[in-house]
């Protein structure tokens, strides 16, 4: 009887690792800035966010076909773009990232990357031969990308400023079924990559050489629901929505439909993949972004508002 009880207890522990994990670090959010509201015309459906070294905030607005610049206090500075396929135009602006001088923007409907200066003047187009499903600009000559294209999925590509692939490494060992290898990723300070799978309960770390360092399953999920669409089985539930890294090297993973607080739970892992904290965003978000100054950015009001929070760590509380 005792043995049975013990086994059930172990099983219970195994099935609920998040809720029972002992958070060794406490992290709190302190809201500092909110950009966009129901009563203004600042944001309609923001998709991507990036912050430069001065704290300026760059956003892509998918519904307005624009990119926008705000200062660190959330004051609107300028915007550019309209619907179209020409230079400086968009059909569905998505990922955005910046370096000291340039702003890089992808489009869900058009291949390649558009580059703008910090005043949002179009500068040039980086051609690519595949669609992009996530982008992180490490510097102007090292742009990390993943793709949804069937032939090129399952790999991280590094392209230079001209769009030439200079390096790639696979993060999946074998061909997985359609869309199951879709990921969000973030590069670490030493060239490593942290990967969160969109439709699998899987977080992975790869070193700078592309070797797998660790793999974690945070939710102990086996499968996601799928729906038949033509001849494809399309997953209909997102497990992890985004991944970000802070200046301490902590990895933040935004949970999706299967988290206790849908699209609000954030799991924090250390560099070894151990869960050290978790917290809940005030509003559901599709993405997480953490800047070099220790601020976290996420969505509110279904994309009409961007919230900027100061990350406050337990040892600072």
């Amino acid at each position: 009887m005792f043995r049975l009880f013990f086994l059930l207890w172990i099983l219970f522990l195994g099935l609920t690792p998040i809720s029972l994990a002992l958070d060794s670090l406490k992290i709190e959010l302190d809201e500092r800035v909110a950009i966009g509201s129901l009563n203004d015309d600042l944001l309609f459906q923001w998709a991507g966010v990036a912050v430069d070294m001065d704290g300026n905030i760059f956003l892509s607005d998918a519904l307005e076909y624009t990119i926008k610049k705000f200062d660190s206090d959330g004051r609107f500075l300028r915007k550019t773009g309209r619907k179209g396929k020409g230079p400086g135009e968009f059909l569905a602006p998505r990922y955005i990232d910046c370096t000291r001088d340039w702003v890089y923007v992808t489009d869900q409907e058009m291949w390649g990357i558009q580059v703008f200066d910090k005043d949002l003047h179009f500068v040039r187009h980086i051609p690519l031969s595949f669609p992009i499903s996530d982008m992180k600009v490490m510097d102007d000559d090292h742009i990390a990308l993943v793709t949804v294209s069937y032939e090129t999925s399952g790999k991280i590509f590094i392209v230079n400023g001209k769009g030439k692939i200079t390096r790639s490494f696979p993060y999946v060992e074998e061909n997985s079924s359609f869309m199951m290898d879709m990921v969000d990723f973030v590069p670490g300070p030493n060239g490593e990559f942290y990967i969160a799978y969109s439709f699998q309960d899987k977080i992975e770390k790869f070193d700078a050489q592309g070797s797998n360092v660790w793999r974690r399953h945070l939710l102990q999920m086996r499968k996601v629901n799928k729906q038949k669409f033509n001849s494809f089985d399309i997953p209909t539930e997102v497990i992890f929505k985004d991944v970000a890294i802070d200046k301490r090297g902590l990895i933040y993973i935004l949970g999706g439909h299967h988290s206790k607080h849908r699209s609000r739970d954030v799991y924090v892992l250390d560099g070894n993949g151990d869960l050290v904290a978790s917290f809940v965003l005030p509003d559901p978000s599709h993405c997480l972004y953490i800047d070099i100054h220790g601020y976290l950015y996420s969505r509110a009001n279904e994309g009409v508002t961007l919230k900027k929070y100061k990350l406050i760590y337990g040892d600072d509380l």
Binding site: L38, D41, F44, Q45, A62, L63, E64, Y65, R82, K83, L91, A92, Q108, E109, N301, E302, G303, V304
Partner: protein, 157 residues
Amino acid sequence: MRSLSKCKGISIIFIFILICPIYGWEGSQDRCGVKLIFLIDVNDLMCISCLESLLEFCDSLPDETLKERSFGIMMVGKKETEKSFRIVQKKLNCFVKTNQIKFPVHLDRSSGNCGFEINGSAVICIDFKNNVIRKFKFPLSRFQKTQIFSVISGHSE
């Protein structure tokens, strides 16, 4: 399931009848023109590329059809809070403005009350008696577009 579809159909026609007088369609003597009702799923509005097929189709229609014989209904579903409606209204205003939509689009606050599940954007062809002739879901195939054009032209002759 069938009663839900019926409920949806009744709901759409009901909204259409309510809106008709606003746009001068009430008691129309125009007995030869097919009208188009664009049902826009609010979920598609959150993913702008999901509405590309609808926008492309609108671009292919004559201005006269869009301005005088077309009408849009944004299906909001079960989002019941005032805040949700205001968010959708703001997004809808932006969608209409940036895509230069030439027909009025009404936000349907009642579509969630029937209990049916909104399942993608669609276009409905109705005759001068407000009878539904055909319904097509987006994205449209080339054949479906041809069918719609034939319905439009067939009833215009």
